[in-house]
Symmetry: C2
Subunit: 382 residues, 2 copies
Amino acid sequence: MSTTVPAASTTPAAFQPPLRLLTGPGPSNVDARVVAAMSKPLIGHLDPVFWDELLVMADMIGTVYGRSDGASLCLSASGTSGMEAGIVNLVAPGDTVIACSGGFFGHRIIEMLRRRGANTVELTVPFGQHVPVEQVMDALAAHPEAVMVCVVYAETSTGVAYPVADLGAALRASGHDALLYADCVTAIGGMPIEADEWGIDYAYACSQKCLAAPPGLSPITLSTRAIDRLGRDGMSVPYSLDLAEHLRFWLDRPMTYHHTTPNLQYYALGEALRLSLAEGLNARYARHADAGAYLQAGFQERGFELLADAGCQLAQLTAVCVPEHVDGKAVQAELLGAHNIEVGGGLGPTAPPIWRIGMMGVNANRPTADRVLAAFDQVLAR
Amino acid sequence: MSTTVPAASTTPAAFQPPLRLLTGPGPSNVDARVVAAMSKPLIGHLDPVFWDELLVMADMIGTVYGRSDGASLCLSASGTSGMEAGIVNLVAPGDTVIACSGGFFGHRIIEMLRRRGANTVELTVPFGQHVPVEQVMDALAAHPEAVMVCVVYAETSTGVAYPVADLGAALRASGHDALLYADCVTAIGGMPIEADEWGIDYAYACSQKCLAAPPGLSPITLSTRAIDRLGRDGMSVPYSLDLAEHLRFWLDRPMTYHHTTPNLQYYALGEALRLSLAEGLNARYARHADAGAYLQAGFQERGFELLADAGCQLAQLTAVCVPEHVDGKAVQAELLGAHNIEVGGGLGPTAPPIWRIGMMGVNANRPTADRVLAAFDQVLAR
């Protein structure tokens, strides 16, 4: 691959992004109070005032994850880095890992495990479904050497929820000591996560969906036993993803420099977490559940089918099947171009033809659902 | 390591960062117009309007790096990730690499090479100096199998500039095909970088120093031959750091999803790059040179010694030796607490007692230097 980019000779015109309703799979629109927080004075990553705020944020992240033990913090990166950090820190080359996939992000976990050199037991189901818990437990019985089980709690590519609580209970009942790894990217701030109670050892998420902060940060959480396995057998971890280093930076005082944190992003996420706690997590989850159910009923009343099995449909992310003879991508383009409404399409080459609609963060309410439904009506009536 | 963080039961008070003059090694204060750019409407990473802006940014980044061939783009992460991306993409385990270190960041490159499993030839000089070009060429002659030579163009921990142009010329004259890797974190936007002319194959930087944007992004640049070596021999690269994937996301259309970019950060960096080009890069470099020389003269007139050898002193970062019988950390703390002025100290356990003072971005001017000098006078007079 070789690409030539000519050098700019003049200053380009100012960037003028349009005002969009962001009801795709994320980012969602940012709460205005969160944007305002980014205009507070920048201070440095080694400023004692910032150190104190990191501890406050660790505490709030732990609350949203339902974690009282272990540690919760934030990576200065996207959810993709949170996904990979859990793998390269907890899996050594040659380790056996059981990975469940029913969509794009489950598949991406498998790809990262491949790059790590893991011996991956792939449990795959069609888009719209989830791997039954019994099948995971059978795989674990067949592979007693497995060090981790990976699931996607809220599969952003299909709108499917994984019964993590059930899997966690089954894992505990089995007495197997494999770690439980859960993608919570589309879940965080929009539906309950109970890391302690369910036995989640590692989870990662992002800032830009149900938390209504801008994209750029990945809140993560580790159980005590996950922390105890960091650095196991002297295995090598890329420095930038090394969770032992991140933990030291976040939680030890005096602070040890690791990297320069994107502090205005931290201001934003800190404000978003405060707003979530002030609203009340249960009230927030109920708001997401209501908005999602309302949107889904609207599509079903119009005769559309949803991709996800009814028993595992997420509220905050709905995958609507594109009817035959409709050009789904053209509809998306018209929603964006004529209505300034972003919705997602299928992700990756194997995705079925779908639209993916997010009711997340500040957009998780019935008026927004009505606006999306009305725009679909207009575009499809043409 | 095990840490218990209690869960928050109530919403913490709002975060209220103080207004600081950021004249440490970075971040520097953000230009007000750059902060304002972050309040523009958020659009998604797969929005065609954003795709166009990425190409504009790639072009501007190429200009600042002096690159017309190859490719320039930005990682959604700190300079630390830019540092590591260059290593894991261009060095396979077992490869020989020649790494020069005269400070904390040179040493960090060596640490990352160690984690990558490279056979590292370490050329180390005391803090304040740089490895002579002849010594690098001797090492290369002794290790004809070397695939890369790593230097820090502007060593943030010591204030030392590396003669990258001379090294590049010597490399070309030798006919050796080792890649040239250069840390430009403290250089970008504050002093000339001529990637084409000097033969830099990979360079990385950050947003928060001389470019006066907030921390969070790492502009990088690759030569055509560096691009051609990506994915060499099927070597495995962590997915989140995979530069072939990043290049596809930035430069191929239609876009292929890789990760969710922190778009408000991109708005900020895009504005900062526009402001740099509008000022004129040479005028900007001259401003940094003048401010740095003025500050350094001020310290020398007061009898302080500078850490860097005179022939390789950076303008934008000055390491001032803490006099005997002065508690350098106490001075830093009083500058911060009583004057709201941040300056840096020595970085890492082996650093000599120094203060590190940045004249970067919007702070690169004589009035700011005067304010810093006056505050030192006041604190040290006590």
